[in-house]
Symmetry: C2
């Protein structure tokens, strides 16, 4: 049966498989809504995780359901797309098949690899065993339960050293995640946990933010890093710059200079590396494991395979790499969708000479706490304090998927703001038995 031009033929439509339902994968799949293709989005989880707000789940400000959205639900209304949860185990590029953990392999005509990044331990001993990462919803819930559980323990013990390490939280990495996380913990302890644990001296609880370089928010202008540091210090966070972590143990963290801090809770926000799936594909990768792509985000030699977002080493015009941030992934996803749509439309006449991918830096922002954020735009003044914070709230609300999630986030943010409370201080543990 010959394909009819300008009409989607269910059988003959070209198949686009998107691996990964993060910002990049979703943007690509959505941007293909009007293309005569069949899109399948595959992810190891059944939901998109809004990673920028994971730290608020970890610090009891939001519910986990507020910031996750089922991938299948996202595509209810997109007739040419579907989603499934399965783990991708490999790709047969010659046969054009994506191999999965369960069921038959998925055939593709165009493949978009958008599997993102994972927490990088940079070879520091003990990170994998004893530190918490913050990339998935389950991790955020684990951090929350763990910290609250430690405070319960601290209240019941007479051992001063044990109490101290139970109420000391060390966050490694002074980028946006580390800054937001430490601000979030400072606020959680300062009001809600102070009220929850009147028999503990909340002033002795410590939040320590450790950064290897000599300032916070190294990707921002120096003045913003300084502002963040001053603000965090006022909130009671101990900021340690130019400090390298040598190892993490179950009850302590040791620095390169040999000093040691007793702590039961280390959150590792020091950076990410490309999803290890990238290295296993037999394609060219950078030292950091990112997939090498050409200026059109194609895998060299595989013109129907694209890599976008944190897993791709996409080059800027100046030779630097596109930063591993959500807007980079979203822009790449939309760009690749346009490429595929153009190619499918002009399937007989080539059309490969399209513009290379250009990343538009729209600025960066990080919130520090109540009424405080730093915003850096490509042009114009830097925004800090309350206006920055309102901009941060608004942008994150807009970016969230789904009306229900937005409404719930709004209720919870209003509650937190007006009452200084954090409503989700629940310890929910898998070993919780029925008793």
């Amino acid at each position: 049966m010959a394909p009819v031009p300008d009409e989607v033929d269910e059988e003959a439509a070209e198949r686009v498989v998107v691996v990964g339902a993060g910002f990049g994968g979703l943007a690509a799949a959505r941007a293909l809504a009007d293309a005569p293709v069949e899109v399948t989005v595959v992810d190891q989880r059944n939901h998109h995780t809004f990673q920028p707000l994971l730290y608020q789940v970890a610090t009891a400000g939001l519910d986990v359901d507020d910031i996750c959205y089922t991938t299948r639900g996202i595509f209810h209304r997109q007739r040419n797309a579907r989603a499934m949860q399965t783990r991708v185990t490999g790709v047969d590029f010659d046969a054009q098949l994506v191999r999965t953990g369960e069921g038959p392999p998925l055939p593709y005509d165009h493949l978009i690899l958008a599997v993102g990044a994972v927490t990088a331990d940079f070879g520091v001993p003990g990170v994998v065993e004893h530190a918490f990462g913050l990339k998935a919803a389950a991790e955020a819930m684990e951090i929350r339960s763990h910290v609250l559980r430690r405070f319960e323990l601290a209240e019941r013990t007479d051992d001063g050293a044990r109490r101290s390490s139970a109420t000391t939280i060390v966050i490694v990495g002074g980028g946006p995640t580390g800054v937001e996380m430490s601000g979030g913990f400072a606020e959680l302890i300062d009001k809600p946990l102070r009220r929850d644990f009147p028999h503990l001296d909340a002033d002795r609880a410590r939040v320590i933010l450790v950064e290897g370089r000599d300032r916070l928010l190294p990707s921002f202008a120096p003045v913003l890093g300084d502002k963040a540091k001053a603000r965090l210090a006022r909130m009671g966070v101990e900021v340690r710059l130019s400090t390298q972590v040598a190892s993490v143990e179950s009850d302590a963290v040791t620095f390169a200079d040999g000093t040691k801090i007793g702590t039961d809770t280390v959150v590792w926000a020091a950076g990410v590396v490309a999803n290890p799936l990238a290295r296993s594909l037999g394609l060219e990768t950078t030292g950091a494991g990112r997939l090498v792509v050409d200026r059109q985000l194609r895998i060299p030699g595989r013109s129907n395979v694209y890599a976008i977002g944190d897993v791709a080493a996409a080059m800027l015009e100046d030779g630097a790499l596109v930063p591993q941030v959500a807007p980079g992934a979203i822009q790449a996803g939309r760009y690749v969708a346009r490429l595929i749509a153009a190619e499918v439309a002009g399937a007989d006449g080539g059309g490969h000479e399209v513009e290379p991918f250009r990343y538009r830096d729209k600025g960066s922002m990080a919130t520090i706490g109540r009424n405080a954020a730093v915003v850096e735009l490509p042009v114009g003044p830097k925004i800090t304090g309350f206006p920055g914070w309102v901009a941060w709230l608004g942008l994150h609300l807009i970016m969230l998927v789904g009306f229900r999630n937005r409404a719930n986030v709004l209720v919870n943010w209003a509650w937190n703001y007006l009452t200084y409370d954090r409503g989700s201080r629940l310890i929910i543990e898998p070993d919780d038995d029925a008793g």
Copy 2:
């Protein structure tokens, strides 16, 4: 230092320890707010679980944070009460000490045992290993994740038998929990999962409700059980009455008549027994493990120890036992608080001749699904259909703890009602790795 009448002396105030932060324990602690006592509420979890709505978490209608509230938070404003999370391991009644898993034992002058009930397997083989209970937040999340995971699997398999058992949900027990649960699953499958899994035939998914007796809702008037059955049948639930479960396997359930249904999901809502802690205390218990109490809910021979709620075998005037429902626990909690307050106030002059506990039956209700519930009041007409459903919604909203939880429940219920969606269809699993 002699206690000053009518004034609370922090040092000399009598200590009330409440074990269990369910409906009974919370009611007792709150009713002691104005009494010159120091109240400590101990629970193995750090939150009160609103058990009547757990089934909505399991069926993806509500978020787990909507129906749980931290026990410490509940007592922020009650100056004479505090809460802690720890597992009670025993009681030394002579020394008046509650032993806990961590930290020093808790001394008490008055002890209220309100540890509730756990899922009863009635000795049916395989229930503990293969069936889900529904008493804790973690269990509700496990059921939700498990069912959604099974549907993912069903879509990817070519094996008809495997697909069938993956999409068959068996609920054992035709009381309110079983009725509400099966209605919840029927609605989850009928609209949201039908849209989520367009490649699966949702009409072949099965929800089977099994009850050993010859009608549903045996504690309600027969007409209401009949109405519930008819309504569930219209929603596609297969109701099997007079059916005994002989055993549960990992992929099937076998009935007493030898027939077998392939299923990966069995939810056990067939009944409860008293928390096993009760039997371990060395006190007199009934055959079902409930603590024997006198007409004032005291443990015989231990006039300063009370048992309330599901763990107590409190006698009605006619010799029957107080039913294991929330109002029974709440009324008993308030009653015992009055007793203790009176005793503390008149500590020198006795005051033990108070009225015995009387349980006031305020009626029962169960929701079946959208616009449908059955309500039975002690007097007056039975209420069904839409009016019953509105009454059910209103009562549950009022009973929830905390404004934030009520607001979130309201948002989610409105969303579910208007869109026929279930917003929390997330699979969040502990083995979810960072990848």
